[in-house]
Subunit: 105 residues, 4 copies
């Protein structure tokens, strides 16, 4: 079998292990939070470990891609779609150089 | 300007707002944790709100893609690379149908 | 020295190690998130490990108490104070038996 | 009824609303993660909002106390107990002024 995309590679990995049974949307959401915290741990004490950060980011992304597949959405598509909304909430001329929430712009 | 990829679209969005100054790896890691928790909130009380979950997943992914770009790595590539390691830690014949950690297989 | 309260015990522990320098409110907030995720990990895959959960809850509480001390507030007092507000947001007769957010009651 | 402790106040609050049914250990663990992220949000972009931080810390603590009660442990007792172990893992003379993990001291 030739695997050509990340989605296919993840599907094959999961099916070979019969793990789909554990991958409810809720369990994947928990897993994303858990891995995000391991990523955050690379920056816990005013230091930063960027090498480990790449490794942990890969774990977060893996669960995100699994959840996207479970919810039958395309990762790139939902990011681009959300970006459209965010563009409206944060117009460039108002938001430039500011980290305030949209309701304080 | 024709934007053809998610990475380019995100870069343009950030540069138009002069937000790169806020996007240190640490701040992006915090943001990934924060958005992950909003995703988890869709499953807080034995219910599930899958419609909102897609929306929140988009936010988690957005910050993941921004961090990947900041760390100069490709999201798909690091996921596939990590998958190789995970395949070794969880051999299909040992891990099949089990949610145990690799050191308990 | 006789240590009589948790606050005093934590202060002594920190000062013996000269760790106050690392305990900025932000670093403690990150630590609370990190330990919360380790607690969540006890419930990751439809199982539950309550023995480990107690252990991880202790870690979350430790950082919460350190942050409370850093912000010069009393843990019990702020919980009781918040409870007063929550009582108003969730009147017993409206909220009974429902897990909805206050704006949907 | 005279409420004299935080535990009693929380128990009364929950029972008046018939919310114990939602407070499984897992749901409380999720809630602790969710509230921790709201606390972290007070420090998202190199700024800090200590006023809101107290408010969010109260929410984290509330769920921690509810979980402690659900697991039938005393918050102070488990923190003090864990502190004993941490004292051994991080001897003052080795750990002084260092934020390294115990296995790197």
């Amino acid at each position: 079998m030739v695997v050509t995309t990340v989605r296919e590679a993840l599907r094959l990995f999961v099916s070979e292990r019969d793990w789909a049974q554990f991958h409810s949307p809720e369990n994947l959401a928990k897993s994303i939070s858990i891995e995000s915290a391991e990523l955050l741990e690379c920056f816990q004490w005013d230091d930063e470990d960027l090498y480990s950060a790449v490794d942990e980011l890969a774990d977060v992304l893996t669960y995100c891609f699994l959840l996207a597949d479970r919810l039958d959405v395309d990762p790139d598509a939902i990011v681009l779609n959300k970006l459209k909304e965010t563009r409206k909430k944060y117009p460039a001329d108002k938001a430039r150089g500011r980290s305030d929430k949209y309701d304080r712009l």
